[in-house]
């Protein structure tokens, strides 16, 4: 029986959403400063409006709905899921004011795509976008990759049990460190350290490849944010193809791989536990999956002689596969080349790579390597159980930071999320088919949106139907938060009208 949320429950939810919105508002200062530095005064006004609107709404919520209680599970999860929607609406304000979007919905699409680290974009005339606008687009990815709640936990919210519940709602079940605030700060420390090195490296390559110094480092910063946070936005419409640079592609491959690794694994590596890299079920699953899918893709591309030589084949093929599997969405080919030149087999392999996704507790989306690995391990366990005598006890283990025994509870929770992803992929495909797109394109784009990848066959464009834009926004939101917090939000909404009266714990 569902308990009807009380007014106090709703007040608590509104209060904590207010706190997170204020944190978001403060972050607008970064693109605002960028606009001031580069003399982009019109955009400075846009970011000032975004910042003040966020702080005003955040403060208003806190003043109107003061709460002193800590959050329970349903409140924590509801705060997270609503915060992501509110962040989309507020983050879209400077985007739509910039004049690069056909409508507020298009701006919301890009804001959700940014926060959810997807990378599908409806921006128009990107090649004439201002530095501050690009800063905000990429910053949204960086913030979304770490998690909007993680930002709040780092700066504004106390490390209570309720804070942990919000953190879990953001698809982060693992605490890297015992305390959730320490975990949030560790995530920031890792990301900012890599950000410094990644930006310098990409900046130097940019200079060597013929770009002016300031633009090299700006592009380095933006491309780093999009690569490490497996986002996929780029400052130019040609994605990574703009640079025509093999070294640039190599560095972004390394960053995409680092971004797709679990933050717990990063912690193990920072603690000099390098063996973990080879023992971990996620890295093993990712390696096997990428190898098998790339081989299937290679067969498909070779059959069609898509590329003129092996170097071109490896450079183009491997890059798109890493980009797909890591959930980044960087491209070194044009969107129509997927359906026109890649053929069915290679396209199927890349759709599967997108669907599988990266690691849990990383910036990547998709089903996640941990769940795929667990699924195959439990399958193996069942086969062994059938083949051995009835009295035999079959124990299967896997290694993820520590050795864990496979239990039905674990397999069940992994399977539930796996099925949710598959259903979301299917529903998005059906909506695409409804609007008249062919199956290959509709399924490709749907998986790309729900797994927060960002590769496209060309469907995602300002002229695409409104219904499809809304569908992809919902898919990106669901995929990034991994369903549960959104299901709880829906449950709370239903319980508000149909639930029994009582006090939620």
């Amino acid at each position: 029986m569902l308990l009807r949320p009380t007014n106090e429950d709703l007040r608590t939810i509104a209060y904590y959403i207010g706190r997170l919105i204020v944190a978001l508002g403060i972050i607008f200062i970064i693109p605002l400063l960028t606009a001031v530095i580069f003399g982009e005064w019109d955009l400075a006004a846009d970011f000032l409006i975004g910042m003040l609107a966020s702080i005003f709404i955040g403060l208003l919520l806190q003043k109107l709905f003061p709460a002193s209680r800590d959050m329970n599970w349903s409140q924590g999860l509801a705060v997270t899921s609503i915060s992501w929607l509110v962040a989309m609406f507020l983050g879209a304000i400077p985007l739509v004011l910039s004049g690069h979007y056909g409508s507020y919905l298009d701006a919301c699409f890009d804001a959700m795509s940014g926060f959810a680290t997807t990378g599908l974009a409806l921006i128009q005339n990107l090649d004439h976008a201002a530095n501050s606008l690009n800063m905000w687009r990429h910053l949204m990815m960086f913030l979304g990759g770490q998690g909007i709640v993680v930002i709040g936990l780092t700066f504004l919210v106390k490390g209570t049990a309720g804070a942990y519940r919000m953190y879990v709602g953001e698809a982060r079940e693992e605490k890297v460190l015992p305390n959730v605030i320490q975990t949030a700060r560790f995530i920031w420390m890792v990301s900012l350290t890599y950000l410094v090195f990644g930006t310098i490296l990409l900046g130097i390559i940019g200079i060597l490849e013929g770009m002016p110094v300031i633009r090299s480092f700006l592009h380095g910063l933006w491309v780093f944010m999009a690569a490490f946070d497996t986002g996929g936005f780029t400052p130019h419409s040609q994605s990574i193809l703009y640079y025509h640079s093999f070294p640039y592609e190599i560095v972004t491959i390394v960053l995409m791989v680092m971004g797709t690794l679990n933050f717990s694994l990063h912690y193990a590596l920072w603690s000099r536990n390098f063996k973990e890299l080879f023992k971990n079920i996620e890295t093993r699953t990712l390696f096997i999956s990428l190898t098998v899918l790339f081989l299937i893709g290679t067969v498909g591309l070779t059959q069609l002689s898509t590329y003129p030589n092996w170097f071109a084949h490896l450079r183009k093929g491997f890059y798109q596969f890493i980009s797909a599997h890591s959930g980044t969405g960087f491209m070194t080919i044009y969107a129509p080349q997927f359906p026109n030149e890649w053929g069915f087999l290679a396209l199927l392999a890349i759709v599967l790579a997108m669907a599988f996704g990266g690691s849990a507790c990383s910036t990547a989306g998709g089903i996640k390597a941990l769940r795929i690995g667990l699924f195959f391990k439990s399958l193996l366990q069942d086969v062994k159980r059938i083949m051995r005598p009835g009295s035999a006890i079959v124990v299967e283990k896997f290694h993820h930071i520590k050795t864990i025994m496979i239990e039905d509870r674990l397999v069940r929770s992994a399977f539930v999320i796996l099925i949710c992803y598959v259903m979301t992929y299917l529903l998005g495909t059906i909506v695409g088919l409804f609007y008249g797109y062919p199956l290959d394109k509709a399924s490709f784009e749907s998986v790309s949106a729900a797994a927060n990848v960002g590769l496209s066959t060309g469907i995602t464009a300002p002229a695409m139907p409104t219904g499809l834009k809304v569908t992809y926004i919902i898919q990106m939101w669901l995929g990034r938060l991994e369903f549960m917090s959104i299901f709880v939000l829906i449950g709370l909404a239903i319980a508000r009208f149909t639930g029994a009266k009582g006090r939620s714990q």
Partner: protein, 172 residues
């Protein structure tokens, strides 16, 4: 009516000239009419290895690589990478960015669906490059309406901070 041999020869000459003119116009149209980027990308196989004309705005950076340079040219549909000799790319003075519209350039060159020299890139190797129209600066004046909205929001923030504090003080 009898047609003399002289008339017959003139008529044949006229037919040949007419054919030559029509054929030249057709060829000229086929080869040297600017092909849009969407057509090039969507039907890359058809144009692969052919000499084509492409026209658009030079955007972003001109990236010099020894004696050559990469230019990205956007015709309003998509941007395509142009690989050219440095002496050709040196003609470009302005490239498109937030503050300016770049030079409009016309390129005649070989289109590659998947360039063997450049790791499979879809690109154009320029043989000729002409500046069709020079670029220019773009002004972005600050919208006064936006400043008014920002001012109102600022007042709103102040009010949410000050009014509750004032009420607390008054009631105490």
């Amino acid at each position: 009516m009898r047609i003399t041999n002289k008339q017959d020869t003139r008529y044949k000459q006229f037919q040949i000239w007419l054919l030559v003119i029509i054929w030249s116009l057709y060829l000229g149209n086929c080869i040297f009419a600017a092909v849009p980027s969407t057509e090039l990308v969507d039907n890359a196989e058809k144009y692969d290895g052919q000499v084509i004309e492409y026209q658009g705005e030079a955007i972003g950076d001109i990236m010099n690589r020894r004696n050559h340079a990469w230019i990205n040219v956007n015709d309003g549909g998509r941007a395509i990478g142009i690989f050219s000799d440095k002496n050709l790319s040196d003609q470009i003075k302005k490239t498109g960015s937030y503050n300016q519209i770049g030079d409009t350039v016309k390129i005649i060159g070989i289109f590659n669906r998947s360039c063997a020299d450049h790791g499979g890139d879809l690109d154009i190797h320029a043989r000729e490059l002409y500046i069709v129209q020079g670029g220019h600066k773009v002004e972005h004046p600050v919208n006064q309406g936006k400043l008014v909205i920002a001012g109102l929001l600022f007042l709103g923030v102040l009010a949410t901070l000050i009014i509750p504090a004032a009420i607390d003080r008054f009631s105490s």
